[in-house]
């Protein structure tokens, strides 16, 4: 099924804290379908405050309950909130979310070695769920905060080979290093999405990423309803992901 793995549904009250506009589920579905998607996965926005994450998650769960034929969802949480963050994520997985994310260490102020973040990784491993982790471009990135770069992600991957990871926005450039055989071997549980953001990637990016990764590792993502520069037509989700969603 043609699936957009990366859209956002921001409740109006939280819109000022996110870089994408607020849009209701119906309007979001219409927008996604116009790009060819037959299904979309709502990624949670990486809010810094757990209270905001909870509001975001209620909106995501509502959308996947009311439009089950079109929407799936990941839940967000704020790792800095410790046990409460873990509790929130576990409750959302119980309620029907397919994974945790999008988490963003730079925006949310945590590191990949943070014990509270690692507990979220363990939760995903235990439940066979996916963690969606924002990764920054090593070169040419925009924005502040401590960037999480492909080399950081690879250390996490090496430490937790059983963790299923979705690295959005071309994984910050990590796909290129899949051309190194020893790196490729480590990416068996890692997928990337083609969602453009801020500094926009032109359409040939997905062709190049597929050349580096192989066809089944790159998932379509639009980042709708955020600013989109020609995300191109939606494509089929790999069969392996049907079980995940």
């Amino acid at each position: 099924m043609k699936t957009d793995i990366h859209v956002h549904l921001i409740p109006p009250a939280l819109s000022p804290g996110a870089d994408v506009p607020a849009l209701g589920p119906e309007a979001l579905e219409t927008l996604c379908r116009s790009g060819g998607a037959e299904r979309a996965v709502i990624q949670g926005w990486p809010f810094r405050r757990l209270e905001d994450c909870q509001v975001q998650n209620r909106a995501i769960l509502q959308a996947i309950r009311t439009r089950p034929d079109f929407f799936r969802g990941f839940c967000t949480t704020a790792p800095g909130a410790g046990a409460a963050a873990l509790e929130e994520a576990a409750a959302c997985l119980d309620a029907g979310c397919s994974g945790i994310g999008e988490l963003d260490p730079a925006r949310q102020g945590f590191s990949l070695e943070d014990p509270d973040f690692l507990k979220l990784c363990a939760l995903c491993e235990d439940r066979g769920r996916v963690l969606c982790l924002h990764t920054d471009m090593t070169v040419g990135r925009e924005g502040g905060g401590r960037a999480v770069l492909p080399a950081d992600c690879l250390r996490l991957i090496e430490a937790r080979p059983g963790l299923r990871l979705l690295l959005p926005h071309y994984g910050g450039g990590l796909p290129f290093y899949a051309l190194m055989p020893e790196v490729a071997r480590k990416l068996k549980n890692v997928w990337f999405d083609a969602a453009p953001e801020g500094c926009i990637l032109p359409p040939q990016a997905s062709d190049c990423a597929r050349l580096c990764l192989g066809a089944d590792r790159l998932l379509f993502g639009s980042h709708l309803p955020g600013p989109v520069f020609d995300a191109g037509p939606c494509w089929e989700l790999p069969e392996e992901w049907e079980g995940i969603l």
Partner: protein
């Protein structure tokens, strides 16, 4: 594909007494020692070749022109000696060799003077520079002086670049690759050759502002078979465009250690021909035309 017009932009030739007295040089330069030590554990080794041996291997493989990169010696006297040697090789075999200048930018004004001396001797560029091996950051004042001089003289500068991920190997340069983006923006007219596929920098050319900054950046393929799958050649061509990828081997380094030891250009050429999926037009550019263009325009800048 058109064999016989190939230019190898990245080789290393040493004066004969360096391999003969390896222990003496290794004691003076630990980076040289690390990179050229024969290890029983590793099948990869720095082989040695005389110009005559290099030409015989080049003729077998259809390589028309061999570009000798200098070595990043820590000692400026060794740099000068190496440059004198390469100048002699270029003169002895007209049309077959070209040379890039060995320098260590840490020496500041002395390094600048050596760049100018090499330009006057007909050198075609500066490098291979090894920031990690020589222990300087990419904003070192001595380096900036050298780059300014190279830009003024229209001499391309070749850097040894390592990958931020992947296996460790002797000589892996840990200098953060972001620094080359800063250099490209600071010296927009400087021609940069980022060796070993720029440590993965071609991927970031998918960002329009990076691509714009890197319009005078070329990527060489030296030692690629030791680092990447052969698909990487096509990936670099797609990402940077066929005009900015250069064939290079790191000859006489053994880049297919399981198949052949030393003094060989042909295995990599055959691998590219058979498995990289380049079009005829891409092949022409990558395997020779791009580097010929850089050689033709080298050194035609202004004196002080």
């Amino acid at each position: 594909m058109n064999r016989g017009r190939i230019v190898d932009c990245h080789t290393h030739m040493f004066p004969a007494d360096i391999p003969a007295r390896w222990d003496w040089y290794a004691a003076r330069d630990s980076c040289f020692a690390e990179l050229t030590r024969e290890s029983p554990r590793s099948r990869v080794r720095e082989a040695w070749a005389t110009p005559e041996e290099a030409l015989r291997a080049a003729d077998r493989a259809g390589v028309e022109r061999i570009v000798m990169q200098g070595w990043y010696w820590r000692d400026m006297d060794l740099c000068r000696r190496h440059n004198d040697y390469m100048e002699g090789v270029v003169r002895a075999y007209p049309g077959r060799f070209a040379a890039y200048a060995s320098i260590n930018p840490v020496f500041g004004e002395a390094a600048v003077r050596e760049v100018e001396r090499c330009r006057d001797m007909g050198f075609s560029g500066v490098g291979e520079l090894g920031p990690g091996g020589n222990g300087y950051p990419l904003d070192h004042p001595g380096l900036l002086e050298v780059l300014e001089t190279a830009a003024r003289l229209c001499l391309p500068v070749c850097f040894h670049v390592g990958e931020p991920v992947g296996h460790a190997y002797p000589g892996k340069d840990r200098t953060p690759i972001e620094g080359f983006y800063d250099i490209a923006r600071r010296f927009p007219d400087l021609r940069l050759i980022l060796a070993h596929m720029g440590g993965g920098l071609p991927f970031y050319e998918l960002l329009p502002h990076v691509r714009q900054a890197f319009r005078n950046v070329w990527y060489d393929l030296a030692a690629n078979p030791l680092l990447y799958d052969i698909r990487a050649v096509k990936a670099a061509v797609r990402l940077a465009g066929p005009e900015r990828v250069l064939f290079g081997t790191d000859f006489p380094l053994t880049v297919y250690p399981r198949r052949r030891q030393g003094q060989d250009f042909s295995l990599f050429i055959e691998d590219i021909e058979e498995h990289a999926g380049l079009t005829e037009a891409e092949w022409e550019l990558v395997m020779g035309a791009n580097m010929r263009r850089l050689l033709e325009s080298a050194g035609k800048g202004q004196n002080r």
